[in-house]
């Protein structure tokens, strides 16, 4: 990884960290703490996801957490001193996992939105 791109990843890791504080706090508050007695059921989640605010929160969380988390996993793996082809393989495996998880998660939220 050349230096230019590493410093960008380092910066984005920090920007996603700050973003996650806000998005994750909102997500946890709304799903678990705002109404502690209520169970999480399809209908309740669907009515939330119909609002723009929660589409932004949930899709944003999906993207931010996957980027931040998987970039973190990549950093841990590269700490073993990988270089050359091993580093490229790690990078592409992480990218593939991230794209697959994002697409699956994005489709997974769709039934709630379509339930309107």
């Amino acid at each position: 990884m050349n230096r230019d791109r590493s410093i960008w990843l380092w910066i984005v890791q920090r920007l996603t960290a700050v973003g996650l504080i806000v998005i994750l706090a909102t997500h946890l508050w709304v799903t678990h703490f705002a109404e502690p007695e209520s169970m999480i059921v399809f209908g309740a989640v669907a009515s939330r996801l119909r609002t723009t605010l929660f589409m932004v929160v949930d899709y944003g969380l999906l993207g931010f957490a996957l980027f931040h988390g998987l970039n973190g996993v990549r950093n841990v793996l590269l700490d073993w001193g990988l270089g050359g082809w091993a580093e490229r393989l790690t990078t592409w495996a992480i990218v593939a996992l991230g794209v697959a998880a994002f697409v699956y998660g994005a489709f997974g939220l769709y039934p709630f939105i379509a339930a309107a």
């Binding site: 960290a17 504080i21 703490f33 841990v76 699956y104 997974g108």
Partner: protein, 135 residues
């Protein structure tokens, strides 16, 4: 020079810098940050699969979430809360150090992250306790 004047180099794992007793506060903070970060990635991938159970019908989603809201999983959720709180708070500590704030107060700030995380988990425990007892 006689041989017994030569300083003996201590041997054994106990005397290496990587023995737990010889680690610095910052190293503990880093190890915990790493473990909780990796655990959260594992949780995130599971969480995506759980929520995507809605792809197989709203009934499937409600069955899966019904199981995940039984006392056993509520207790596991406390572990998740602990990981999120520690990783998030220690993350803030890292971000502050990056902009040069609090570097001289390392130990106190680490202690604060531990105390705040523990307080958050205790609060969560008190919140799920009635649910666990009533079911």
């Amino acid at each position: 020079m006689s041989v017994d004047k030569v300083q003996r180099v201590p041997r054994g794992w106990r005397n290496t810098p990587v023995h737990p007793a010889n680690l610095h506060v910052g190293t503990w903070a880093w190890i915990l940050h790493r473990i909780t970060g990796l655990a959260l990635v594992g949780y995130l991938l599971l969480h995506i699969c759980v929520i995507s159970s809605a792809l197989y019908g709203s009934g499937s989603f409600d069955v899966v979430l019904g199981v995940l809201q039984t006392p056993f999983f509520l207790v596991l959720d406390l572990g998740l809360l602990a990981a999120v709180l520690y990783h998030g708070l220690n993350g803030v500590r890292i971000l502050l150090f990056d902009i040069g704030v609090g570097v001289r107060r390392q130990k106190e700030i680490f202690a604060a992250t531990i105390v705040l995380s523990a307080a958050g988990v205790l609060w969560g425990f008190l919140r799920v306790l009635p649910e666990i007892i009533s079911r």
